[in-house]
Amino acid sequence: MTLDRRSFLKLVGAGAGAAGLPLIGRAAELMPKSGKRVVVVGGGYGGTIAAKYIRMMDKNIEVVLVEKNDHFVSCPFSNLYIGGILPDLTELTIKFDKLASNHGVKVVQAEVTGIDAAGHTITTSKGTLKYDRLVVSPGIDFRIEEIEGYNDKTPELMPHAWKAGPQTSLLRKQLVDMKDGGTVVLSVPLGPFRCPPGPYERTSMIAHYLKTHKPKSKIIVVDANPDIVSKGGLFKKGWKKYYEGIIDYRPAKKVTAIDAGKMNVLIEGIEEVHGDVINLIPPQRAAKIAQVAGLVGDDKKWCPVNQATFESTLHKDIHVIGDSSIAGAMPKSGYSANSEAKICATNIVALMNGREIVGLSGINTCYSYITDKEAVSVAAVYALQEGKIAGVKGAGGVSPDLSAAEAVYAKSWLKNILTEMST
């Protein structure tokens, strides 16, 4: 890690000289740019793939991947850990060292605090970086201001576990510590949110845990949406078959406030629902950096992008992929982010070499576990139709039924997609 040491020394120098001055324009340049460069913000399902594929397609482009952590934990499959099916998060955790050694991606562990679109420069906790094109794949943040009483400490009490890692472990611990006969409350925000079937898979996995280990307990699902958002028929079928009397599903119930002292959530400010464990998933928007950089659209939530290249319609030379972006019919899923990253990478390379844009083709595949042995899936193929990303008609759709084979295939899905991201 020569780079880290050098950048650290530079930062120390800059800090001494720049006291009291605004950070932008004063922070040390982390790695001076010589040739063509793409900087990628975020080392998740989208960012790792964008970085890798740009390098695979054009070795003349320098790629710098900036990620806050030295590892990434997958949200897909984290529900299996919460349900006690996976023993820990090891299988879901990747590192970035092989992206560096196999593909020459330069990995910088730092937090991105600002983007100067006009100056083609980002500011990070370790210094600034210049770019020709920027890929922003930062994931989501929460609209906590829409829940009265929610503050910085709330996730420690009522975990969202919607970003995998310590929050996932905390929710698991709370479930393990809960007495038999207890009540779990899971609140689902209004869509769109990260992983449309995620809350319902989680419900299934928590129910599986309760049925197996705490049979007198139950889970109440308060869903702000009028019905289950994804794979609804299959979840309902699975819940009836395996979790009758354990899952109490209540649609069109929006949590607007919490009472931390009483461990209650409040529906529309009036109806109180008490939980011994509360998995409160707040409503969502694009991650903070996308907000700060002015990449979100009129809805103040998500980032509008050119539907062929994922270039922001608000700032030139900045591409937004993954959960933060508005990608037409492609859902906010891990596989979508993977697919979007490749589309984006292909066309960044085309644009930087003065070539014609390549037409879009994308896929989403997404598995959800109902029990430890049975899963369901949704799949789709995407193409551009009248300027928007749309599902190809006649293709895609959900599983006909719960399936043991799909639970087996899902494991290989995880193995392959995480291997793609880390090697």
């Binding site: 594929y53 062929a308 879009l360 896929i363 799949a379 290989s412 392959n416 291997t419």
Partner: protein, 192 residues
Amino acid sequence: MMMKWRGWTLATGVLAISALAQAAPPSAAMLSNACAGCHGTNGGSAGPTMPSLASQSKEAIEAAMKKFKSGERPSTIMGRLAKGYSDAEVSAMAEYFSKQKLHATNQAVDAAKVKKGASLQESNCGRCHIEDGKEGKDDTPVMASQWLPYMQMQMADYLSGTRKMPEKMKEKVDPMSKEDLDALLHFYASVK
């Protein structure tokens, strides 16, 4: 490649013209990369129940996709996905994957079974699965280094009748014991 796409675009007429107004049609790489989330980068699978597509025979991929599409070959997700592609797109993907380097896997295989499987391969299967399964003949798939769990699941589908065995294969498979078949699959998994 460019000539081929241009020909394909012209052949599809009016629809293609409106698509061209936005961008060129998807390239073979664009189409194929979308599959790599499940089948691995360049079709080299890391997941034991998902087949590698790298170095697979072009005709075998085309035949598989056609059967997934019609439902003749059983699947979970592949039938739903196959319906999203034209024949020309399937051919482009098949050709792309056929040109990728064979993905050599390091699987745990039983040495005794590999030895037995090697002799069974030579006397029974080698006329179609040529070069120790490293080459496909027409639509006969490449077997070398394929994942053992994947091949075992497919063989189970063949034996149960949910996947229809080609006549020539059936003639060879019918007299073999389950142990013979298992040995064969261990052999194919071991070939690099």
